[in-house]
Symmetry: C2
Subunit: 352 residues, 2 copies
């Protein structure tokens, strides 16, 4: 029936989104894997040794397969033309009592090393965002029987993934929390933002490979409807943010529980790439400054210490509170098992 | 089963959206009514005598019930502080060879007169956008057994409609073409923009009255999925724009057939209210001017002659090319009967 079942014996048509930044703890990923759904280590900004460590921890907690999520772009970058934004951000640093920002920014990339770890550790699924992995890496992964899932925000991107040998495509609707997966942010500065039920239908009509639905999904009725339309699975981010096993900090959790359906917006202030987050003081003030965020990942690196202090000091206003539009329906913390059950009932892929 | 069937003997769970501006010809409305779906005269900017005339024409072509769509706001307005925008718009007028704009704008409102016509003509359904009709009008309509359907873009608006005595709510998703129905554009300057499958689920979870799904719907699989989620009907705009019976002009039709899923955006340049249209030269240049559109309906009145010339001279670049995100899937002109059949197959409400 489903590629997830046939290739990986996954029982539940649920993929946990590969949220980066400490959310996807080994406890979360393994708890989801143990329900029969597909858990994902969000390894976007991670170094290779951290990834290896996390993989080992997950393996201690489950013998089910799980995915590793990567950014399919080269993060390597450097800039010393950051003055105006850095000066503006120093106001926040000053209020937080942390050091002023440097006058240059450097970001390292560990993609090759992480691919090495993934192959060494015999990981069965790699999912990617922001583009298509280089052909040489796609080839290496496929030679090693790794299933490749790519995220797309429009049909051109989806076709590119299909033609590059990806095994499945995630249709990321406008409703989704966190970064827009849009490949070319030059062409779509605010992201390619198509409502999920239009995007899903378009992908189903034009692609040969399986399609996974993502964005704003929080209720079993939505899951049933999307699977009935032809999606092979759904990808869930926001609801797992509030899972008891997730690495989400307390201030962020409170913001998620408080948010309503209109609390989020797509903004570039945190990373330089359009991403959906709960509106807070940081969003309001940086957008209100009239300054243009630096390109990804420069802006991301520049705001990292501020966001880190926001977490440490439990200040939601100084964090990137990624969330999808489904956040309004989330009323309580639950375990990963409870979340998967509430979304699928007792239905397994093979019975669906 | 359905309020449309029980109250009006409507057989198909399809409501044709009340598109204003000459689209909803009596031929279109009656053809849709004769399929067993609910046709709608878009009477937003219409005068009362025009409405009466159109109603008479529809009645000559069908004995089925049909709806009249109104704006639930007072259009009456006047402004003589329009100089910068008017001067900018004069460039377009100059290119089109039409007269320069006046230095003031006046808009008349005919809502009371249209309500009078509606009651006189024994119209069975009134649908509204942009707010809630004044309590006195709601009362008069309900005393006369008129079914009231209001459009909402968030839960607060939907609750306001429900509490005011409306009989059903249309959940207008972010994907929808034309004007955002958002009540308070001071609070939501670009509209309240929630993806349909999130908005529908939220309305179903919190409202007692029936919910109609709208926005980006163009395919039977979507209709089936939305009805299965609990929508009582779906509202369709864009696909009916291209119906052979619609009043859509030839240049607009060509633009609809050419557009893809990413061709539209939400913009205030045509009317001063956020609305989804196909990007064209007018959108690009007015947005690029840095000038803020005047409030609705002043901006609408100011651009009216330009849009009129665009229609007359078959210039798509000078028209408001309203369209939803489903426009990418529209490949050919069809009759209203073909459109309703392709969306519902042979399924009637009572069998659904």
């Amino acid at each position: 029936m489903s590629f997830l079942h046939d290739r990986l014996s996954i029982e539940k048509p649920i993929i946990q989104a590969g949220m980066a930044g400490g959310i996807t703890t080994p406890e979360l990923v393994s708890a989801i894997a143990n329900t029969g759904a597909l858990g994902t280590l969000g390894a976007g900004y991670m170094g290779a040794s951290q990834l290896k460590e996390d993989i080992h921890k997950v393996k201690q907690l489950t013998d089910k397969p799980f995915a590793v999520n990567l950014f399919a772009v080269n993060l390597e970058s450097y800039s010393n033309e950051i003055g105006n934004m850095q000066r503006f951000l120093n106001r926040f640093r000053n209020n937080l009592g942390i050091d002023a920002g440097a006058d240059f920014v450097k970001v390292n990339d560990y993609l090759q090393e992480k691919i090495h770890v993934i192959l060494e550790e015999n990981i069965r699924v790699v999912s990617t965002a922001f583009g298509v992995l280089p052909a040489s890496l796609v080839e290496r992964l496929k030679e090693n029987d790794v299933l490749l899932i790519g995220m797309a925000t429009n049909l051109d991107e989806a076709r590119e993934l299909e033609e590059s040998g990806y095994d499945a495509v995630v249709a990321q609707g406008y409703e989704a929390g966190g970064h827009r997966g849009t490949f070319d942010v030059g062409k779509y500065p605010n992201g390619s933002n198509i409502g999920l039920h239009v995007l899903l239908e378009e992908f189903l009509d034009h692609l040969e490979i399986p399609v996974v639905a993502a964005g704003g999904i929080h209720h079993k009725k939505q899951v049933d409807a999307l699977l009935a339309m032809g999606a092979e699975a759904v990808q869930i981010g926001t609801r797992f943010l509030i899972a008891k096993e997730a690495g989400t900090n307390a201030a962020y959790r409170r913001a998620l529980l408080k948010a309503d359906t209109n609390s989020t917006k797509i903004t570039k202030v945190f990373s330089g790439r359009p991403a959906r987050a709960i509106r807070n003081k940081f969003v309001k003030e940086v957008e209100g400054s009239g300054l243009t965020p630096l390109p990804f990942p420069i802006q991301n690196q520049m705001t990292k210490d501020i966001r880190g202090a926001g977490k440490e000091f439990a200040i939601a206003d100084m964090q990137s509170l990624w969330a999808g539009q489904g956040v309004g329906a989330i009323q309580e913390e639950e375990t990963a098992v409870e979340i998967v059950e509430s979304l699928t009932g007792n239905v397994n892929i093979t019975e669906a």
